[in-house]
């Protein structure tokens, strides 16, 4: 049986936050805190699920992959915004960039921390 540490539970929480953020794709108006659409939903669901699995299994490498994946997605989104003024295939806006930056950084930090 896997013994989960507080860092593993943090990875689960960050993954759940990523999964939950996909709900913003369904929201419009003042409560749409994060612009989410297109491929961005797939990114946030896929890497969020990976982070949850990483924390559940106590796997630091998996958590690191999820975190780096979110950071790469954030950088690609920013590049698309700079080049075209929109999120392209990822959808989203600078708010999506900030969300992925936070969740990705959190996952990288907890996966690299000494245990």
């Amino acid at each position: 049986m896997t013994t989960r540490t507080p860092l593993d539970r943090a990875a689960v929480a960050l993954g759940v936050a990523s999964l939950a953020s996909a709900l913003f794709a369904l929201v419009e108006g003042d409560l749409e805190f994060v612009t989410m659409g297109g491929g961005g939903v797939a990114v946030t669901l896929g890497l969020g699920a990976l982070a949850v699995a990483a924390g559940w299994l106590g796997s630091r490498p998996l958590a690191l992959v999820a975190g780096v994946g979110l950071l790469v997605a954030a950088v690609v989104l920013l590049g698309l915004l700079a080049a075209t003024g929109n999120g392209g295939f990822l959808g989203g806006s600078a708010s999506t960039f900030a969300l992925w930056l936070g969740l990705g950084t959190g996952l990288v930090v907890v996966s690299l921390a000494d245990r």
């Binding site: 915004l81 700079a82 600078a94 708010s95 930056l101 936070g102 950084t105 959190g106 907890v110 921390a113």
Partner: protein
């Protein structure tokens, strides 16, 4: 009680994150019909709050608006990202304070603006700083003991700003 502090921190993070959705690179609203960040920044000149600040905006910021726009985007994205996960929270509370002062000096006298909304923004960042809100359900809380025990520079710095 600690859950409430985490909720305040995460709520403020969402405030910064959601307000990035209308700061659109690469123009940030600069163009024939000004909008978005460019229009709000111009209000510092059209509706001055503090004349020296208006002078800086008119002569330094607006002529170099792309640089300013990207700087705002990165600062506010970092605010949203790091307050969300509670990493280096006290440092980012101070950054949030500074950014709120800049916003207040830009728009407080513009039509339909409510000064108290900016005072409230200032106060909530003071509260986040005073309570070190990242130590509750945040990365700061998870790692601060390790950072404090470390002799390396970066962990010690993170302990100081958490």
């Amino acid at each position: 009680m600690t859950g409430l502090l985490a909720a305040v921190r995460i709520g403020v993070a969402l405030l910064w994150i959601s307000n990035l959705s209308w700061k659109n690179p690469p123009t940030f609203g600069q163009g024939d019909s000004p909008s978005g960040l460019y229009q709000f920044t111009r209000w510092a000149v059209e509706y001055p709050v503090f004349p020296p600040y208006s002078w800086v905006v008119e002569h330094l910021v607006l002529p170099n608006f792309a640089v300013f726009g990207w700087t705002v985007l990165f600062v506010e994205a970092a605010l949203g990202a790091f307050l969300l996960i509670g990493l280096a929270t006290r440092f980012f509370a101070l950054v949030g304070l500074a950014q709120t002062v800049a916003i207040t000096l830009s728009v407080a006298n513009a039509p339909n603006e409510w000064l108290w909304s900016y005072v409230l923004m200032l106060l909530v960042h003071v509260a986040i700083f005073a309570t070190a809100a990242g130590r509750y359900a945040g990365v700061d809380g998870l790692l601060r003991e390790r950072w404090t025990a470390s002799t390396s520079r970066l962990p010690r710095l993170l302990a100081a700003v958490s």
